[in-house]
Subunit: 147 residues, 2 copies
């Protein structure tokens, strides 16, 4: 092993400050999507299920239909917007650290919204370089993209 | 003009239910990023500036530092997470409809956080086909990506 390789192996690698799952849920149960209390409960449960700690939450019912809401967690936030008339919900699951896994929240919500189909994309935000302890000026990195 | 072309021109085009700006702000003023009241105020102002209507807001100060917060607007939500120790903030500006422009909120926040540099990406979420009035099962579309 030459010195260069050895140094490369010892160098701390670039990490990301946040994991951001953008999820699209289709053909969901419209009654669920239009139920403020239920959406608030399953979003809070999704946070707990994935290992996050709920700090605050705020949900709002729109007229004639649709729910928007956010759960602020110690590890960032979970957000949802529903279109009951279209059976569609757009969800964001943004987490920091290694203590929770947003993909568990994704699977939980997919089931609770009775989504006929779903897509998610995982983005890595805030690329941190431990060498100089700076956040790199770099767009987010797409880790997974399921069609 | 043949019939086919005429039909194509008359056909309603596919639209998106939501515009989602993912913004990364670097080398910001750390005192601003660690000021709960100030972050809450500039986020609410960013909503108003871009033509949105504030419905609810919830902000939280972390120990030893960092602010997380969300403004629910009639048109969806604005969210922020700050890392004052790194001068970095991750921001999401999610809007629906044509009455507000999230890019105005982006520019407003860039100035108010005194960001040395910034990057944004615009995603189109919930691709709606007016022909059958259904949301297409399709991942979001990236409209703009500035490096």
């Amino acid at each position: 092993m030459n010195i260069q390789t050895e140094q490369a192996q010892k160098a701390p690698s670039i990490t990301n400050l946040g994991r951001h799952i953008l999820a699209e849920f289709y053909n969901c149960n419209s009654n669920v999507l239009n139920n403020l209390e239920l959406i608030e409960r399953v979003m809070a449960e999704a946070a707990t299920e994935c290992g996050a700690t709920v700090v605050e939450k705020k949900f709002h019912m729109f007229s004639p239909y649709g729910v928007s809401g956010v759960v602020i967690i110690s590890e960032s936030h979970l957000a949802i917007h529903t279109w009951p008339e279209l059976g569609y919900a757009a969800v964001d699951l943004f987490t920091c650290g290694d203590t929770c896994n947003p993909l568990i929240a994704y699977e939980y919500l997919k089931e609770k919204l009775s989504a006929g189909s779903a897509i998610y994309t995982e983005l890595h935000r805030g690329m941190f370089n431990p060498k100089n302890e700076e956040v790199m000026v770099s767009p987010f990195q797409i880790k997974t993209h399921i069609d």
